[in-house]
Amino acid sequence: MANVLFLIDHDGSKVAKTAGELATFAKRVGSPVGVIIANSGSGDALASQLGGTEVERVVVVENDDVAKHGIAAAVSVLAQVAAEQEPSAVLVASSARGKEIAGRLALRTGGGVITDAVDLKADLSTTQSVFGGSFTVNAKVKVGTPVITIRPSSNEAGAGSGPASVEKFAVTIEAKDKTVAITNSQPPVKGGRPDLTEAKIVISGGRGTNGNFVEVEAMADLLGAAVGASRAATDAGWYPHTHQVGQTGKTVSPQLYIACGISGAIQHRAGMQTSKTIVAINKDPEAPIFDLADFGVVGDLFAVLPQARETIKSKRA
């Protein structure tokens, strides 16, 4: 079976959860070969974290140029690995960086690119949700080796015995891919809460919070949920824009989405309407969010949320 390459994201010390998800997708279309691009001396520790996944082989490229020069250098590495492994497709997890790498790699290797797939079939056709989840599209790359980015949490990572083998691969990065100099890099400031795009439950606040996210956060902490915000709330400076859900923010598709004080303008709906279950709390009975909600409460979030929290706590106990 043909190799299917997939890029394994990590933060230098920890492999991302998407690695197992991509391996499972890759296995559906071929023989999964993971690629780890890491600084000198840190590849083995990362590869060792892939035990129990469906990753069959890992190619480890230790090269310090990627951390120094960024995306063009990463593309160069992947193109060289692809030239060696001759894959039938290359998979990358959807993120700002993942999509940029995919787009450039597609141009460099002469293949088509598809972004933000939520499913991948054995014939390499993909499913995407477009225009804010109002349409579902099936697409396929018809020229060259397809480069496909897949949204995190699109599948459950399967269990396997991998990785069977870890091999080192040396690359040389040319000057043309080193034109950018990265002088400093800081990881994201992580609270104790899960990432928006990976969370099973998202609870978001909008204009109705009036800038007070205390109740929204308290509910999030009780449920182990991520906190989102509408554009109105981030524009007002009430919550960091990295938490914005909507057309110009993040797209989320959790098991449960709780919209608090959010009217549900199309701008916001575009980022959350593919959520499995939607709950809305809003004072305005005419708010369009209620058209989407499986369960809606017309009321004040500052009364409804604490009461719901106390009920959940007491019934769980």
Binding site: L107, V113, F135, T136, N138, T277, V297, V304
Partner: protein
């Protein structure tokens, strides 16, 4: 310093969209300048305005570049009314159905021919939302990629750019020498509204329209026939089933909690 800004005309992001034959029906909705492009225009204006101050003929200019049907000139005109100097539109029936690869080819060809130092972009268009074009332009031009900038510093005399890249992976400070492709995130600035004076001035500004033949790209390399990826099928998402809506009569929170517990959602 010559700056090109890639802009796109998109369906109003507040409008419901329709698809016909696997493609967006662009005729049925109001078309506007992609609002994320306005941040790129604003940022470029803030860079060149102080440098041009007091000069008879501006030494630093901004050209808006787009690809799309003829009515794209309306979106370009909006950017000109904000203060950009001129526009360039590649419009050709053969471009319909172009994918990201074809778009990158066309835009990078006119950028290359235009002798620009810098390209500015928004991070994505609000319709396709792929967020790949700035990176793909850097790839096809062979220029430095400085994307997802939350701040930009341009040193026109040293011909260098410094940005703070802000994404879900954190913040990275990076720099490069001209030529560069820069994309800016929407929190970088507050785009200006075109003034009455700006709108009047924009009417006199030049928008060049070019066909594929004018820029030396073969029709077969772009559009639906030249696309490297294809849409096999597109279906509207089924409407959600009507849910429960209740007034909070003092027990709304309890009822909500019961619903979540009963459905085993929490």
């Amino acid at each position: 310093m010559k700056i090109a800004i890639c802009v796109k005309q998109v369906p109003d992001s507040w409008a419901e969209k329709k698809m016909v034959g696997g493609r967006l029906d662009r005729e049925s909705v109001d078309a506007v300048l992609n609002d994320l492009d306005e941040y790129a225009i604003e940022e470029a204006l803030r860079i060149i305005e102080p440098l041009n101050e007091g000069k008879e003929t501006p030494e630093h200019t901004i050209t808006l570049i787009s690809m799309g049907p003829d009515r794209t000139t309306e979106a370009i005109r909006k950017g000109l009314s904000m203060g950009a100097d001129s526009g360039l539109l590649v419009s050709d029936a053969a471009l319909a159905g172009s994918d990201a690869v074809a778009t990158a080819k066309v835009l990078s060809k006119v950028i290359q021919d235009g002798g620009f130092d810098l390209v500015f972009c928004g991070t994505e268009s609000t319709d396709a939302r792929m967020s790949v074009i700035p990176a793909m332009l850097a790839e096809s031009l062979g220029w430095a990629q400085l994307t997802f900038a939350g701040s930009v510093k341009v040193d026109a005399s040293a011909k260098s750019v410094e940005i703070a890249r802000m994404t879900e992976s954190g913040v990275e400070n990076m720099s490069a020498n001209f030529p560069c492709v820069v994309s800016v995130i929407e929190k970088i600035n507050e785009p200006r509204y075109p003034s009455f004076k700006g709108i009047m001035a924009a009417k006199k500004k030049q928008i060049d329209t070019k066909a594929l033949a004018d820029i030396g790209i073969a029709a077969g390399d772009v559009g639906l026939s030249g696309a490297w990826s294809e849409v096999l099928e597109a279906n509207p998402r089924p409407a959600r089933e009507k849910g429960v809506k209740l007034e909070d009569a003092g027990d709304g929170g309890t009822k909500l909690a019961d619903y979540l517990l009963e459905k085993r959602l929490v």
